[in-house]
């Protein structure tokens, strides 16, 4: 129970050149196929043993969702096979099938029935579901008055009311508040310990490294790599960094981090890479890690004066730290068109866990308000994870110690 075996799995969507082509293919006997096949996944092979925790990573469009759909059985493979033993619960569909006009309790029973449990089962599980969701009297209110977090709580509680043999976890889980996120992850971990196989899909590298025994990297519809989460993550980072800046911008855009670029364009940042101290590109950063940002600037006009500034912001856009070459007295003068300048910024990532972005500014004088050549928001986005340090909260890492004396 709880094994997944994927053999030579492939999925292609049919693409018909015209709407009538499908009709022709259906109706004309012995007609040749009139569709092109668009392969989204090809030649996948892997085995998951009971109780294993697997992370599936990859950029948007790499085929992660399609793979999950085939494992849960909603979509049929075009080639190969998926063999699953045991009951699957997928947290992809949290709140799916909830009807807004019915109470939480009614919806919970329906949702359970959709998962194949009987109404009696659900009634006996109900007290436990209520206790886990902690939504109080709202359980007997229509779901339309719920906040999205409350819906999520109820849906998670229903989906995991019985320990499944295989649990598929998607980003959907990041909806609830921190308290519930922790509570739900505790339950997921506890189920895992009891033998439930986990399949976690995430862009959140922290989650993958924190829970998984193994990671599978999907890229362009096939398995680019599988192995320990650390190695796969490193490879993934390099894969992202390898791309030229234009593509990286696109990647950021898909994460919802749209770069905002403004200014006269008389000088531009043409390349910017976040690297570790050896100059290797990174995207996930350990707390306290020594980092450098390599920036290349080109002048597209003759400039009397050039100041370069950068700013690290947290995920809410609050500046954490920023400075520029005016303050550090490294201002450059009299640049000619086409001249390039390389800046290397070195700093320690004394930051708390979370996502951060770096913005660049090119201007004359003390700040960009007088004349701005370029202002580039969210040029680099990176994640900080706690590795090798005790857990802490907050935006900053302050090396500290606690002295305890017991009488």
């Amino acid at each position: 129970m709880g094994t997944i075996s994927v053999r030579d799995l492939g999925k292609a969507y049919k693409q018909y050149p015209t709407r009538s082509a499908r009709l022709a293919e259906w109706l004309i006997p012995f007609s040749p196929p009139r569709h092109a096949q668009k392969w989204v996944l090809q030649g996948l092979n892997f085995e998951v043993k009971p109780g294993e925790a697997i992370g599936i990573i990859g950029m948007n469009g790499a085929g992660k969702s399609t793979l999950l759909k085939m494992i849960t059985g909603t979509t049929e493979p075009t080639t190969g096979s998926v063999n699953v033993t045991g009951r699957i619960a997928a947290l992809l569909e949290l709140g799916m099938g909830f009807h807004p006009d019915f109470t939480g309790r009614q919806n919970a029973i329906m949702a359970g029935q959709l998962l194949g449990l009987s109404a009696d089962d659900m009634r006996s599980l109900m007290p436990e579901i209520e206790a886990f969701a902690e939504i109080g009297d709202y359980i007997d209110q229509p779901v339309r008055v719920y906040s999205s977090g409350m819906q999520m709580r109820l849906a998670f509680s229903v989906a995991t009311a019985r320990r499944p043999d295989i649990l598929i976890v998607d980003e959907a889980l990041s909806v609830g508040d921190n308290y519930f996120q922790h509570k739900s992850f505790d339950r997921i971990r506890a189920y895992n310990k009891l033998g439930t196989t986990l399949l976690i899909v995430s862009h959140d590298k922290g989650a993958v490294q924190g829970i998984c025994d193994r990671a599978i990297l999907l890229s362009g519809g096939s398995i680019a790599m599988q192995g320990s989460p650390e190695t796969v993550m490193d490879y993934y980072n390099a894969m992202i960094a390898e791309r030229d800046p234009a593509n990286v911008q696109q990647v950021l855009g898909q994460d919802g981090n749209v770069q905002t670029i403004s200014g006269t364009g008389e000088a531009r940042v043409i390349k910017a890479t976040l690297c570790d101290e050896d100059g290797k590109p990174v995207e996930v950063v350990k707390v306290g890690q020594s980092l450098q940002i390599q920036v290349e600037v080109e002048a597209f006009a003759d400039l009397p004066e050039l100041v370069f500034g950068y700013q690290i912001k947290d995920r809410l856009g609050q500046p954490v730290f920023g400075t520029n070459t005016f303050h550090t007295k490294q201002l450059l003068q009299d640049l000619r068109t086409g001249q390039r300048v390389r800046y290397v910024l070195r700093f320690l990532a004394n930051l708390g866990e979370g996502s951060y972005s770096i913005s660049f500014a090119l201007h004359d004088a003390e700040n960009h308000l007088a004349k701005s050549y370029e202002w580039r928001d969210r040029a680099i986005v990176f994640n900080v994870v706690i590795v090798g340090k005790d857990h802490f909260v907050g935006l900053a890492w302050l090396p500290s110690s606690i002295e305890v004396q017991r009488d």
């Binding site: 759909k69 909603t74 979509t75």
Partner: protein
């Protein structure tokens, strides 16, 4: 056998969904389930007034004050059931696209839920109509039971047609649009509002090729005249119903997987 077992396992879901869909329609209205009755009632009143009073049309050979109303109800109520079942069936996969894409459950549950819902609505209205028959003394007696096989044929037909159109509609959305028009046209091409013998012989001949004509005639024969329907005339439509059911089931099993990709 396996498939029946699956449905049995999901009976809670099927019954729950039927109940829920029924309640959902009326949950936030003051009159509640009364709306199930009000709509067809108004339609019948309109037809009765327009055709029976204004047009002064009478049913040949039947002398009863309510004869035309009963004739009308026999056709309109059953036709509404047919058209509701077909319309729901053809939209059922599209409406539940999200569910189909995200959750693995027996997909055949969905058309069953749709059909059962239409059946429940019909039975409520028809029960009221039966009460009306009893009150006005127009109840046809034991022959009333002959409605059961006729209804069974209709349910089979609706299921087959609804499922066939439902699968096709996923791939060719024209089907949904077209069938609404065809149903409208079909309604008027079937003697429901008017009796067939007011038509010129040529059209009478033409309409006798419409299989629904015989089905509706069976209802009218039982409810208006209190006589056994012409069972032999129902063979073609029964055959069509069976063929449609097989077609629908084959289309479904062949394209169910592809359907999810298309939604």
């Amino acid at each position: 056998m396996g498939i029946l077992k699956t449905f049995w396992g999901f009976r809670g879901f099927i019954l729950g969904s039927v109940q829920r869909e029924f309640q959902a329609n009326y949950k936030n209205s003051l009159l509640g389930a009364a709306w199930t009755v009000i709509r067809p009632l108004v339609m019948i009143i309109v037809y009765t007034v327009v055709f029976s009073q204004i047009m002064r049309s009478k049913l040949p050979g039947v002398e009863s004050e309510f004869a035309y109303s009963i004739y009308l109800c026999a056709g309109v109520l059953t036709w509404s059931f047919f058209s509701e079942a077909v319309t729901r069936g053809q939209n059922v996969f599209i409406e539940n696209a999200n569910l189909l894409k995200k959750i693995n459950f027996p997909r055949m549950c969905l058309p069953i839920i749709a059909l059962t819902n239409a059946l429940v609505n019909f039975l409520i209205i028809f029960a009221l109509f039966t009460v009306f028959l009893l009150v006005t003394g127009a109840f046809p007696g034991k022959i009333f039971l002959a409605l059961i096989p006729v209804l069974a044929i209709q349910v089979l037909l609706s299921a087959g047609l609804g499922l066939t159109l439902g699968v096709l509609n996923v791939f060719f959305r024209d089907v949904g649009q077209l069938s609404a028009i065809v149903l409208q046209f079909w309604f008027w091409a079937t003697p429901i509002v008017y009796p067939i013998n007011i038509l010129p012989p040529f059209f009478q001949q033409l309409l006798s090729h419409n299989p629904m004509t015989h089905l509706m005639a069976a209802y009218q024969q039982i409810l208006v005249n209190g006589q056994r329907p012409d069972w032999m005339s129902l063979w073609p439509i029964t055959l069509i119903a069976v063929v449609l059911c097989i077609t629908g089931a084959r289309l479904f099993s062949k394209h169910a997987g592809e359907m999810v990709d298309e939604l």
